[in-house]
């Protein structure tokens, strides 16, 4: 049984005049110890997915239907007390911007101790000892002194390490990291990613890494989901998806990277924009930007099905799959 199994998850946002669907029935599994990347552009629904897993969608959003089976229990219809039991304890989350994730008026120690005490019967002393241990694990220098410091006294990279330490406090089975390095510099980003990878492998913690950066996914994860306009459009082994993307969008995303073109040449761009959730077109959401789109793509939403080593939601992919292989043979 996988650690996490999401089935037909639908998340909606009740806006002032209409209800928009942010997640349009997504399903995926995360095995124990697996590292899964969720890739997509802003508005694709990847962050919403992350928060939905913790059942932490805030108003006006709500989980409309579907199951989030975590360790056999459905997060989608747990009571608040049961949810609290899971959050921070079995399933922890790392947020995007370390500058605003820690409470500015509480010390690092207070914020770590409260997390431990929320889930275990511990004295403050005992809790602080564990906190120091975890700070050491994330390579924070002089961890004992950090406990008395306030967040604003620390740099962004340091804060993100502390947030990772908080996520690790109760040895969770799953960590959801929502763009954990987007707000950080390149060199710091590399450090944090390395740390995260090291901790997940040594502690056998499952990781869901939400990011827009294909390079990060490529180096951090074993499996990948590509999301577009609230749907998963491609899923499979990360290597397969990076080396041989099937969905035209995934292909476009990878080909659009500057590394894929010679310096000074035109990049292979995807035309147009991702449709907003309230204005999604009929059929495949990508049809307006897809060079292979047929009438069928403008009429019906493609099924999400296994094609070769990956699962893809595209009407044309089977045909395209054959054609590209034929071309390769000819070449």
């Amino acid at each position: 049984m996988p650690l996490l199994s999401v089935r037909d998850l639908v998340v909606k946002f009740a806006m002032r005049d209409e209800t928009v669907t942010a997640l349009k029935s997504i399903s995926f599994d995360v095995a124990r110890g697996d590292r899964l990347g969720i890739v997509g552009e802003s508005g694709a629904g990847k962050s919403v997915t992350g928060f939905a897993l913790l059942n932490l969608i805030s108003r006006p959003g709500f989980i409309d239907s579907g199951e989030i089976l975590f360790d056999g229990m459905n997060m989608a219809d747990m009571s608040d007390a049961e949810l609290r039991e899971v959050r921070g304890n079995k399933m922890a989350m790392i947020f995007q911007d370390p500058m605003v994730t820690l409470n500015p008026v509480l010390t690092i120690g207070q914020q770590m101790v409260e997390t431990l005490q929320a889930h275990r019967k511990l004295s403050r002393k005992e809790a602080e000892q564990i906190a120091v241990l975890k700070l050491r694990e994330v390579y924070i220098p002089a961890p004992e002194e950090r406990l008395a410091q306030y967040p604003h006294e620390l740099s962004g990279g340091m804060r993100q390490r502390i947030i990772i330490a908080i996520a690790l406090l109760l040895d969770p089975q799953l960590i959801i990291a929502d763009e954990p390095t987007t707000a950080l510099d390149v060199t710091i980003q590399a450090d944090i990613m390395e740390l995260l990878l090291e901790l997940c492998t040594t502690k056998k913690v499952s990781l869901i890494l939400i990011t827009h950066d294909l390079g990060v996914v490529s180096q951090m994860t074993e499996n990948t989901l590509v999301m577009y306009a609230g749907r998963i459009i491609e899923a499979g082994r990360t290597r397969e998806i990076i080396n041989d993307p099937q969905h035209p969008y995934t292909q476009g995303l990878i080909n659009a990277l500057p590394q894929q073109t010679l310096p000074g040449e035109r990049l292979k761009q995807i035309p147009g924009n991702m449709p907003s959730l309230s204005a999604a077109p009929k059929g495949c959401a990508f049809n307006a930007r897809c060079e292979f789109a047929q009438d069928r793509c403008r009429m019906e939403v493609p099924n999400f099905e296994q094609i070769g080593p990956v699962k893809v939601a595209c009407h044309e992919v089977r045909r395209l799959h054959h054609e590209t292989h034929k071309q390769e043979d000819l070449a």
Binding site: L56, R87, A92, L102, N103, P104, T115, Y150, I163
Partner: protein
């Protein structure tokens, strides 16, 4: 921190200086001290002599320094009406006003924090909607009208509570006598305090609610939920602590401005405080008393504001520490 402290202190002194200038200008222009001293029957020559003697013909600067020197020694002149030092008159009235402000402050803090927090946490509940509805009506009723309304209901119609005066007060020390020692005193201070609180209370509820709702939207509160922290701790430790910082700055100043509203409540309830006295002094053109009131009230404002600023500097770790280690 040092610069912060010095700045506040410097500002307080500058404001007091401005107030003293204004007070002096008023004293200089309002009423004729000679008339109070000698009456109408004295000849112009004698008047001039007296003017010279009193230094009324000195340069503005000289007169002002004399005035300021006296003020610093606590000499604010003698009230024409009471024939007593103006400062003594005011100090006798001060406790009544301060107790009124204290009563109102207790009501405001005691009611606004729980209501503000509750309406922020449960914005869609019926109770919250009722509270918000009442609060906007509260903002729309001027304080004197609330006072009149309450007198009409509780004193005239129901005859439950007294409508004027302080009732039985107990002498504490110096000029201080208190309302809080007798039942009668409590009954007397109840209506005026509530009336005085009525103007600020809705503002405070709305302020706390708005700040709290903003804080509840923040990433760190979301992170606290993700850590599995109990709601009570999130609301009262994570959110409330951050909510109170801006509330202290706005709120502290508002409590100071309540002194102005005491003039209204004291007038309606005939409360023997400074505000009531001030209006009487204005009607009697009792210049020294007017000037003394100005200086004392200005001093109260400056002191509360400075204290509020300093408290904010101490409570807020970002202000305090970043300046400290800088």
């Amino acid at each position: 921190m040092f610069a912060y402290l010095m700045k506040r202190l410097f500002q307080a002194i500058a404001v007091m200086f401005a107030i003293s200038l204004i007070s002096f200008a008023i004293q200089d222009n309002l009423g004729d001290p000679l008339r109070e001293l000698v009456g109408q029957s004295v000849s112009e020559e004698v008047r001039q002599e007296l003017r010279d003697e009193l230094g009324l013909n000195d340069s503005f600067f000289k007169q002002y320094t004399r005035f300021a020197g006296k003020v610093l020694q606590g000499d604010l002149g003698t009230s024409y009406f009471f024939k007593e030092p103006a400062l003594d008159v005011i100090l006798k009235k001060l406790p009544a006003t301060l107790e009124l402000v204290l009563g109102a402050t207790i009501i405001i803090i005691g009611v606004s924090v729980p209501l503000g927090v509750y309406t922020a946490i449960k914005p869609n509940s019926l109770f919250s909607k009722i509270v918000m509805g009442i609060s906007i009506i509260g903002i729309s009723i001027p304080v004197f009208l609330t006072a009149i309304l309450m007198i009409f209901i509780f004193s005239v119609e129901l005859r439950w509570l007294p409508s004027f005066g302080r009732g039985d007060v107990v002498h504490v020390f110096g000029p201080w006598s208190t309302n809080f020692a007798t039942v009668d005193g409590w009954l007397h201070i109840l209506l005026p305090s509530v009336a005085l609180a009525s103007i600020m209370l809705p503002l405070f509820i709305r302020l706390i609610r708005a700040e709290m709702m903003e804080t509840l939207q923040s990433e760190y509160v979301r992170f606290a939920w993700a850590k599995g922290i109990r709601p009570k701790r999130i609301w009262f430790v994570h959110a409330l602590k951050n909510t109170l910082l801006p509330v202290i700055t706005v709120g502290g100043v508002q409590i100071g401005t309540m002194v102005a509203y005491t003039i209204l409540t004291e007038t309606v309830f005939q409360w023997p405080g400074m505000g009531f006295m001030f209006l009487e002094a204005v009607n009697r053109v009792d210049t020294p008393l007017i000037v003394a009131y100005l200086i004392v009230v200005g001093f109260i404002f400056v002191v509360t504001n400075t204290i509020v600023d300093l408290i904010y500097g101490l409570v807020n770790p970002t202000v305090n520490l970043s300046r400290m280690d800088a």
